[in-house]
């Protein structure tokens, strides 16, 4: 069954949390909202991957989408700049999450934690040099 926006998706077969695709992060021209450019299925897969790999810090999590060992663009910011990381939030604390493309270079709250970045380096998703750039808010070619 295809996913629908703004409807809780039961993911118990694949992970330990449920998810809502937020239409706010799908509309063009929504101010201060980054928007996804990947499919609903890819957005959900990105979330499942984040939770299953424990790329979490409390009620926040971060993720990415890889194809052929390369990070792909998952969305755009207000200035149509490409974004390759995603952020997920359990807004109500009830283990029902939603997410959006993370604009870490412009928004402090979108920067992955140092611990999660370190995990990504250990697993070969990003380099140590890219970790320090993301960490300090420098844009870099991921």
């Amino acid at each position: 069954m295809p996913y629908q926006a703004d409807t809780e998706i039961d993911l118990t077969a694949k992970t330990t949390s449920n998810y809502i695709i937020s239409s706010q992060h799908r509309r063009v021209g929504n101010p201060n909202k980054c928007r996804w450019t990947v499919s609903f299925a890819d957005e959900v897969d990105c979330f499942i991957n984040s939770i299953n790999n424990n790329w979490k810090d409390g009620t926040k999590a971060w993720g990415m989408k890889m194809i052929n060992a390369a990070l792909i663009v998952v969305g755009l910011n207000d200035d149509n700049e490409e974004l390759k990381l995603a952020k997920f939030i359990d807004g109500t604390g009830k283990n029902v999450w939603h997410g959006y493309p993370a604009d870490y270079a412009n928004r402090s709250q979108d920067r992955p934690t140092n611990t999660i970045l370190q995990m990504w380096v250990v697993n070969g998703y990003i380099s140590k040099a890219k970790m320090t750039k993301i960490n300090r808010g420098f844009s870099c070619n991921l």
Partner: protein, 430 residues
């Protein structure tokens, strides 16, 4: 003159050097502290290299003494000194991780267990930041202490900061990204016109404009933003009457001067600029411009606060400029693909990336001529020694050296036979 380099193999993440100790954070979360003086001495293979190695790595301040400038005017003396440096430039100084262990003072988990985003050591304290906030803990502890750095640091603030930078006065500038620019002010007298944002400590908001990183320029702070306009936050001394009817000086905020005003730019296109002490720099396509900042302008004499000095070009393969810093020996420019040192003698050094981290220590007592560069599998510690022979007044790149070490500092040189314990007090200007 080429810089002299010591290479240490290892998987490092951050570094600091302070009072004879080298602090290295490993990527897997250890903090290891080494006896830097012994490490350097171990690399001296010939007695005749001792003087040059000492100036290079243990006392970068000594040759700036004004009394030596007269000696440097003597051609023979200058040639001898250059020959000494030349002899060690050609040497290769490398240490493996196992050899490095010979100099280990102490080893611990990085405090709080999280790799730091940025660190500073000031007045025997380690300040560090990561996503959980700003912390401080004692550093340069006795060798008999279990850990060289406090394993239970104090949390000063929970803001997720991007960068911290200490001044030679007791302040730390804090870059908070879109939260703004702040300052931890540990002076006895606090500003009267800034908002205190943290009740646990004297942390004041300087601006709510975006701050990526910053540096001190005399009393002021040059704030760099990678997303908005950068600016110079100007401060001034405000004399007030204090207790006992005595005058006291308060460092109050004055005004902001944005970078478009400083560089006289009309275009709205964003550019990166950075500044420290007497120079401000602006990135352009293919290079950067240098502006001299005169903090002590006498407008009645027609003196200008900002004067354009020169333009420096960078080869295209190095990519666009993403970060900049300055030391006495020149400008350090981090591009997407390389780190460039534009030296004060007009020469350039390029260090190909990927660069994990780099540091310079212009506020230091002994390591002003160091550049530390962490690469994927090693740290390279460069020592630049050309700047002693440059006319500081006319210099266009690098901080102008002025011999005005703080009056509280009794010992001014590694060569002075002074008791090190005089620096164990908590009130140091470095």
């Amino acid at each position: 003159m080429q810089p002299v380099k010591i290479t240490i193999k290892g998987d490092f993440y951050d570094c600091q050097i302070y009072r004879g100790r080298l602090y290295l954070w490993t990527f897997d979360g250890d903090l290891k502290v080494y006896n830097w003086n012994e490490l350097v001495r171990s690399q001296i293979k010939k007695d005749e290299d001792k003087i040059a190695m000492t100036f290079c790595f243990l006392d970068g301040n000594y040759l700036y003494k004004s009394s030596l400038i007269e000696l440097f005017k003597d051609i023979d003396f200058k040639a001898l000194l250059l020959q000494k440096f030349g002899a060690i430039e050609k040497e290769s100084f490398e240490l493996s991780e196992s050899k490095l262990n010979n100099f280990l003072i102490g080893h611990q988990d990085t405090p709080t267990g999280i790799l730091p985003t940025d660190t500073e050591i000031y007045s025997n304290k380690l300040y560090f930041i990561h996503d959980k906030g700003l912390y401080s803990g004692s550093a340069h502890r006795s060798k008999s202490d279990k850990y060289p750095v406090s394993s239970r640091p104090n949390k000063l603030w929970d803001c997720n900061l991007l960068s911290i930078k200490a001044n030679k006065y007791p302040q730390l500038a804090l870059s908070g990204g879109d939260e703004g620019l702040f300052e931890l002010n540990m002076a006895d007298n606090l500003p009267t016109n800034l908002k205190q944002v943290e009740r646990r400590g004297p942390i004041f908001q300087i601006s709510n404009s975006h701050s990526s990183f910053c540096n001190y320029s005399y009393l002021n702070i040059y704030n760099t933003s990678l997303v908005e306009d950068s600016f110079l936050a100007m401060f001034k001394w405000n004399m007030v009457i204090g207790e006992g009817n005595r005058e006291k000086a308060l460092r109050d905020f004055d005004t902001e001067i944005d970078d478009k005003t400083i560089f006289n730019i009309k275009s709205k296109k964003h550019f990166i600029s950075w500044g420290i002490e007497d120079k401000i720099y602006k990135a352009i396509d293919g290079g950067f411009d240098v502006i001299k900042f005169n903090n002590y302008t006498n407008s009645e004499k027609g003196e200008k606060r900002f004067t354009r000095l020169k333009r420096v070009n960078i080869q295209a393969w190095k990519g666009k400029i993403i970060n900049g810093g300055t030391a006495y020996f020149g400008n350090i420019v981090e591009c997407e693909n390389a780190l460039i040192v534009a030296q004060s003698d007009g020469k350039y050094l390029t260090i190909p990336g990927p660069i994990t981290r780099w540091r310079v220590y212009p506020r230091s007592m002994n390591y002003e001529n160091h550049l530390h560069v962490i690469l994927d599998d090693r740290i390279e510690i460069y020592s630049f020694n050309h700047d002693y022979f440059i006319n500081q007044e006319d210099k266009e790149l690098g901080i102008q050296f002025r011999s005005e070490k703080h009056f509280r500092t009794r010992r001014t040189s590694y060569f002075d036979d002074e008791d090190e314990s005089v620096f164990d007090s908590a009130d140091l200007p470095f």
